[in-house]
Symmetry: D2
Subunit: 347 residues, 4 copies
Amino acid sequence: MPAKLKTAILGATGYSGCELTRLLLRHPRVGKPLLLRRQSDSDAPIDLAEVFPSLSGNGGYPLQPFSWSTLHAEGVDLLFLATPHETSRALVPEAAARGLRVVDLSGAWRLKQAKHRAVYGFHDNGSHSSELADKVIYGLPELNGSAISSATLVANPGCYATSVILALAPLLLAGVVDRNRGIVSDSKSGVSGAGKEANSRTHFVSVANNFSVYSVFGHRHVGEILEQLNLDSCELIFTPHLLPIPRGILSTIYVHLSKSMTGAEVETCFRDFYGNRPWVRIFPPSRLPQIQFALLTNYCDIGFCVADDGRRLVLVSCLDNLLKGAAGQAVQNMNLMCGWNEREGLN
Amino acid sequence: MPAKLKTAILGATGYSGCELTRLLLRHPRVGKPLLLRRQSDSDAPIDLAEVFPSLSGNGGYPLQPFSWSTLHAEGVDLLFLATPHETSRALVPEAAARGLRVVDLSGAWRLKQAKHRAVYGFHDNGSHSSELADKVIYGLPELNGSAISSATLVANPGCYATSVILALAPLLLAGVVDRNRGIVSDSKSGVSGAGKEANSRTHFVSVANNFSVYSVFGHRHVGEILEQLNLDSCELIFTPHLLPIPRGILSTIYVHLSKSMTGAEVETCFRDFYGNRPWVRIFPPSRLPQIQFALLTNYCDIGFCVADDGRRLVLVSCLDNLLKGAAGQAVQNMNLMCGWNEREGLN
Amino acid sequence: MPAKLKTAILGATGYSGCELTRLLLRHPRVGKPLLLRRQSDSDAPIDLAEVFPSLSGNGGYPLQPFSWSTLHAEGVDLLFLATPHETSRALVPEAAARGLRVVDLSGAWRLKQAKHRAVYGFHDNGSHSSELADKVIYGLPELNGSAISSATLVANPGCYATSVILALAPLLLAGVVDRNRGIVSDSKSGVSGAGKEANSRTHFVSVANNFSVYSVFGHRHVGEILEQLNLDSCELIFTPHLLPIPRGILSTIYVHLSKSMTGAEVETCFRDFYGNRPWVRIFPPSRLPQIQFALLTNYCDIGFCVADDGRRLVLVSCLDNLLKGAAGQAVQNMNLMCGWNEREGLN
Amino acid sequence: MPAKLKTAILGATGYSGCELTRLLLRHPRVGKPLLLRRQSDSDAPIDLAEVFPSLSGNGGYPLQPFSWSTLHAEGVDLLFLATPHETSRALVPEAAARGLRVVDLSGAWRLKQAKHRAVYGFHDNGSHSSELADKVIYGLPELNGSAISSATLVANPGCYATSVILALAPLLLAGVVDRNRGIVSDSKSGVSGAGKEANSRTHFVSVANNFSVYSVFGHRHVGEILEQLNLDSCELIFTPHLLPIPRGILSTIYVHLSKSMTGAEVETCFRDFYGNRPWVRIFPPSRLPQIQFALLTNYCDIGFCVADDGRRLVLVSCLDNLLKGAAGQAVQNMNLMCGWNEREGLN
């Protein structure tokens, strides 16, 4: 049996980082991950089970302060960053210089075009358009699988973006979408998508019995979707909503077809595209996924209904924002980067 | 002080019927309503507080078996039907013949066109296209106020339909919508909209932590929306979703404008239309309503965002499906039919 | 018609303060309340509808900075304090000196015994055991109604305490409880009981799908219960729990009877005690209240089951923590202080 | 590698049966289980993924009609019954006669004393007090581990009973409980504990925003607790409550100690009892478990607080009712019956 891969996670105390820890602990080809916390957190927890007590009882999960020398001493091969955008922005160049492989779960390195990056406050100076940014691969395995296989730096996609891109890519690449009519993605997410920060928007009393819209015409994930799908910004409206549930995303996507199609033809288009990919489930025409079906799995579920006229299509795409939308996809990317089966450690 | 109006409710044991009972009990111009149950229910409860224990403690709410002679003996002036479509279909002709005023909360009499009525299983024979159907007014006070004022038979609108029609009517009537581009209404409702029937879809474990789409391209309320807004069926996609909350509706509506408009111009369009109506609240540009804001009120809240290009518009419309979407609107209709202030009994 | 009472609320932006505002706005004998904010809040909202948008649409609810001169200029008769304990502690002496009537919703003035007050950090110096503290009446109308009627300073009870005291008082005063065996109150509350502060405990993801115990053997409300019921601290265990719902309290209370009793006898004991009080509902033997029955009402619902041996009793007591547990009870106290019917403004 | 164990599940379409299916599919020593449905279900689903769509995408899960000859033909070694009590009552004698090992998740065979069995409607005739009933072992591994290891028929405990027995057994067996003072278990469960049947009690609108008590002095699980802990019925009050969450149990248990103890002494008592058992987690004094900590795990978490007087103890016991309370415990029992590590397949 080959030696197990040595990994580290910076940011394990967040929702995605914790989920990633759980996945790596069960992964048959990966050793127990090194859990790191940012040095600035002086009163940080010293064991992950303090933050997520459900982890206790299996020995400890000590959190060590981050340093490059620790990574080196522990022989870490692959570093997962489950950190704020700014932190990822700052750390990746050094990691690359040291020859570490990186999967970054933040939005810091996902965007190729400066106009999209601006939304993260990264106002480009000359340095950005560097060799480094070009080397970062957008880690959506179903689209960029072969590039990921040879990548050393992977930008893990946004949760909303994953749900929208996977539903639209087969149709757009098949050229059957009437882009002039515009695409609408009405997307809904559970609260963990907003992170662990306690504020008036995430207070239980504000969320329970409620439902709301936010960031209309201005969500950070729009740039990823446009870039990956080669859409112009006027061709897509993306509207996120906050669901009163802890996790899960459902995107309802409205598309005009450029020619009349039957349900069977649409299904064929999807199956031709995803046929051999393990983590996308295509539903037969008019059977639609629900958030519960995808929860606690790494699947992106895609279903659709075609109108009687054969020209209008409603797509429904569901996933677990902490798995296929974050930590699960990060493991899937690691699997590809290491030449393993995409399913490994995710069943 | 004038004598109080004598009302009766058939179907008070449903969610809308119970809410209507509460409203009428507090209405300053209405006596204690006569609560009726269908005679077929042999093991029916004999007091409404058995079904809704929160009502107990204020004296009894006896449920009497329905009969025309009871209505006559009690001197009932206005009959509310919170009944299945079939029951309303059967009872309204006799009620009309007896000179009773009726507000029907079911879908039985809302639709004018046979092709839309078919969705309720009402396959027209000659008798339908009668004088009677023509006399029934669609009870959306903000659109049909003057007709309702002189009506004796009012069909109370569907909950989803109310949220969509009120958001779109001002723009469509102002002629600023590009209908060729198509309108999308992505609508979400709490579980009480599905009624009290216990089944696998309304089981707590099926709904909690979940979110789902249903009746794509085929919901019963579409006909109402098309008829009231004079839209062709190919001009609107309406997609209902089930929220894991007990009550409330939020519709996110996507519209292309036929000319570029500013937020201020859109707001003016709405304020010109609704300026003096008490139960619609218009939000300023880019401030959006949430379901919680409208819960337990009779308001329909409407907000919107305009894209940078001034041509694409996202509308958000919220209401409480049991109030402005059902019982509250029924009281509002009663107020108009009786010549009272629309606000009466609804604050 | 007599002039309406002039009231002010300090702390209307909290959950209880907002609920109190709603109640006073509908109260037939009270004018529109003066809404005050503490002067320290420099970036405080200037209208209550900013904090609770559901209030908008009925004209404004301006929040003015608190000052004694404003109270005087506006001719305020009765001041409601929905403030932190420390604030109430500081303001009441001046209010009393100025002849204002006060209903304080905080815990600052509820406790008579120094050992109980210590839990609020009020370490008594000579000044506390003053004439003033003796003048403050514990505002539980069903126990202290006549004292409240002539009071000028009323300490509104805690939400948990109300649910426990009302369930136990009739039995304890009838002398049928075996105190030596000990009383257990296992109490459960919705999240609004913890206030509006956003922290990790009130984050939606921490509360949803969860249930937890807190403050075992050490909750602040224990002192109130002991004092009002004349219990020794070893005679009662009170254990609060956090329910994943926004509002409502249910207390399950375990009592040993000092003699064998039937369900009918227990019911008689309760009916004799509460017979003529409007805001307590007694359920017949073995029919138990649920939180939903009492939500959005000012009722405290009490039910019970007697064991076969006639010696063990399970009591269930439910109320809405923001109404009978806070703002509703405050209005009920105001009604008594003003000589009005207890029901006034609360139906 | 030894051949994998051949198992069958009757009742895989229920919540516990589905969870058991998931566990067995991942168990390293068990083959894909044979999924059976009762023959009476003529319109039964033919694949488990129809009932639980989250299972789809991994090949099929065909449901075959139950027959003894199918079990024989497939070479089944161990049969799991996730069936109604009556079905288990009827099938176990034949299964035993055929030499099948059985783990029965129903309540049919848990109770040894006729007075307790009566609650299931099993009125004993001569036949029950048979050799067969004596052979059935109560499958609580932490108490009856060695008997389970040599058992062929195991009655899997009730979910509530597991949470209560595991919290009380160490103290009762250590003789430190004052039984004369009485024990109270105030227990709360999520809705899946009530099964999949859709009725007015499990309707989303009835459960959400609610909390209620049921079966006071009369729940079916009381007999198990009394028998396993050798308690007299007057020594325990067990009160179940319905939480507005899908899954999880928390029991708050009140005990009087027969001598004064410190927190450390109580912890020692628990650690001495459970020291080497993998599926019970003991929390240090005054740190209390929450339902979320145990969800989706096979742990029973136990914490406690001791009063200042050292004589009164509050225990808190949490578990996932579908895992340690049902399917997980069934797997744990299978592990013991097969001589495997208790952790196998449950991490």
